[in-house]
Symmetry: C2
Subunit: 206 residues, 2 copies
């Protein structure tokens, strides 16, 4: 792609460094900003710069927060003995949206992935073990994605907690509510039969 302006080329290049944004999309976005009032560009770049420089992570659960301890951790109505371990803050938002969970969280910041050079020391696993030892945590719910990396991370955490007095569970995998059995993949369907639950439980849940 040949640009008639260095400034434009530079802006398009920086925009195309974002994940999933190619050169063409970047050009479209940058030209859109050019057509808008200058204010729009200022608001966007200020918001990004401010977030990056002033962002704060909860000292306890590592969720993004504007305060030292996040709103969830600071809420006395939540069950402190229950901690749900997730990969990133998007998972916290997803679980919060269900309004079904009243415990706390622990944001790992990723999962162990030798391919991408992410080891246990890059995640907040040390801080998790410390929380289990020092706080009154009775159950950990491992809610990582069910990929090889997620399973590895689950197992690593499980090993680190050996000998500590804490129950561990993982979230249930099965057929999505509303889905037809015939369209489900075999692994999910197989697991949902192995991990079947008493019918009374399913009545209580709905």
């Amino acid at each position: 792609m040949e640009f008639s302006s260095k400034l434009l080329e530079n802006a398009v290049y920086e925009m195309s460094q974002l994940p999933g944004i190619g050169k063409r999309t970047a050009l479209r976005l940058v030209l859109h900003l050019l057509k808008q009032p200058e204010e729009r560009t200022t608001l966007l770049s200020d918001a990004l710069t401010k977030l990056k420089s002033e962002v704060n992570f909860c000292k306890r659960c590592h969720n993004i927060s504007d305060t030292e301890i996040c709103e969830i951790c600071a809420n006395p109505k939540r069950d402190e003995t229950l901690v749900c371990v997730v990969e990133d803050i998007r998972d916290v938002m997803a679980i919060e949206n269900t309004a079904q969970y009243n415990g706390l969280y622990h944001v790992l910041g990723g999962k162990i992935s030798p391919m991408e050079g992410v080891g246990p020391q890059d995640l907040t696993i040390g801080s998790l073990v410390k929380r289990v030892k020092e706080d009154n945590v009775k159950e950990l719910i491992l809610a990582l994605s069910s990929t090889m990396e997620g399973d590895t991370t689950n197992f690593y955490i499980y090993k680190q907690l050996e000998g500590l007095d804490v129950a561990t569970s993982t979230i249930a995998r099965g057929i999505s509510v509303g889905d037809e059995l015939e369209y489900a993949d075999e692994v999910t369907l197989g697991r949902s039969i192995l991990n079947r639950v008493p019918f009374e439980n399913s009545i209580k849940a709905s």
Copy 2:
């Protein structure tokens, strides 16, 4: 979507104002920037702010340029008597990439669209008419998209040029090179038969 941080919410909101970027994509992009070194965010916001504040449009053809007159207009090797009228600078880049055109351009900045509140006075049509009157322009190639708005704009320009000594043409519409006839839409196929060209011309072009 509930955010645990106002800074994050604000950054996601501003990002989601870009066209084709929804709230979820915006969140993904912003969280990506958060994981990267601070430099990445600074480079992006600086590039955008600098482009917006220092951007310059060629006084002659309205293409984006870092100089008063763009490289294309300033190039003495290009044919000044031929001007190709396009909607925006992406079209200039597309035509330049073909390496088949040696004339100049005129960037309208959009097309007449009453639905979107864009009238002739919002485009650079006045400047185009002035160019035709004052410069040595012998032929205008109208290369707008073949939509109702494009056709309206073409016709408006054509009317404005009535009585002036300039030839007007539009780019050829037809079946794409390499496409099968059976998959072409009827309108394109119909036009390509109506506007058939002598076989000798097609030999020369290839």
